[in-house]
């Protein structure tokens, strides 16, 4: 039986942004990072800001690959039915003082719906391998939340990272 094809609704930019559609597979993370770096560089963000954004989104995509689709084996071939749609959009600067430009990243998957109440960062004093991804995502973004997915999609995680507006200036300056 043919695998279901994700609906086109999820392939339409929701916030006027650009789309990258990749297999939910560890080998896709490099391309996702390159895409995000290019988008953030076009905003004029600093190297640190870009590094933070890239890590946060990489971690969120990892969670989709590992926990949503369970496709984390690098040696297994990518599956056609396991897809992540990465949408990036730049929000214009708002009124001062804290509303500079922001990059919004929406990650759409077609896995089972996430129970957000069960997602939590681990205690950093509990030294063990793993469990840092949620801490990184929350620490490095200004906002992260699941929003209602379009028909046929499983989840949409919306991440927002802002540039801080310079005092008295309309142009954004990165933090």
């Amino acid at each position: 039986m043919a695998e279901p094809t994700p609906p086109r609704a999820a392939d339409q930019p929701q916030e006027g942004g650009r789309l990258l559609r990749v297999a939910a597979h560890p080998s896709s993370l490099r391309a996702i990072r390159a895409h995000l770096r290019a988008e953030a560089e076009a905003m004029g963000a600093s190297a640190e800001w870009i590094a933070d954004l890239v890590l946060a989104v990489d971690e969120a995509c990892q969670n989709i690959i590992r926990h949503g689709y369970r496709c984390a084996d690098p040696d297994a071939p990518p599956r056609e039915d396991c897809v992540i749609v990465v949408e990036t959009a730049v929000l214009p600067a708002g009124p001062a003082p804290a509303a500079g430009q922001a990059l919004v990243v929406r990650l759409t998957d077609f896995a089972a719906p996430v129970d957000a109440a069960k997602i939590r960062a681990r205690d950093l004093d509990d030294l063990r391998p793993g469990g840092l991804g949620v801490h990184f995502i929350r620490s490095l973004t200004d906002d992260c939340a699941w929003v209602p997915p379009p028909p046929g999609a499983g989840n949409v995680l919306r991440l927002v990272k802002r540039l801080t507006a310079a005092p008295g200036a309309g142009e954004g300056e990165e933090t």
Binding site: P26, S27, L29, R30, R33, E48, A51, V54, L55, D58, E59, Q62, I65, R66, A72, P74, L124, L127, R128, P129, G130, G131, L132, G133, H135, F136, S139, L140
Partner: protein, 110 residues
């Protein structure tokens, strides 16, 4: 990403070059645990590590814990700026033994 293991007077210097992520961290984990499994102390050279994510950090934590369990030295050396920011974010810069360069780590016995 490349993982290069060199024996320097009984210590394995494991050089990690490039980006460590979910695709490549299994190689890092395997190299570290193999050396420690042979009873050899390890220095991880991160001078050419451009990027590390939580899966890469997990490999380092696993190495650290394995070394402690075996009574072996395990240290990081020459951690470049971007990975160091990630280690600090996880507060692991206070846990790992970190040297400014590989020679310092080797002089200190790993």
């Amino acid at each position: 990403m490349t993982v290069e293991v060199k024996d320097v007077d009984g210590t394995h210097v494991i050089a990690l070059s490039g980006e460590i992520d979910l695709q490549t961290s299994p190689q890092v984990r395997a190299a570290i645990l193999e050396s420690l499994g042979r009873g050899v102390p390890v220095v991880v050279d991160m001078s050419d590590t451009a990027y590390i994510d939580s899966s890469g950090v997990a490999s380092l934590v696993e190495g650290y814990q394995s070394a402690r369990g075996k009574g072996l030295a395990f240290a990081l050396a020459a951690v470049s700026e971007a990975p160091m920011r990630v280690l600090k974010l996880a507060r692991l810069d206070k846990i790992f033994v970190i040297y400014p360069d590989v020679d310092s780590a080797l002089r200190a016995g790993g």
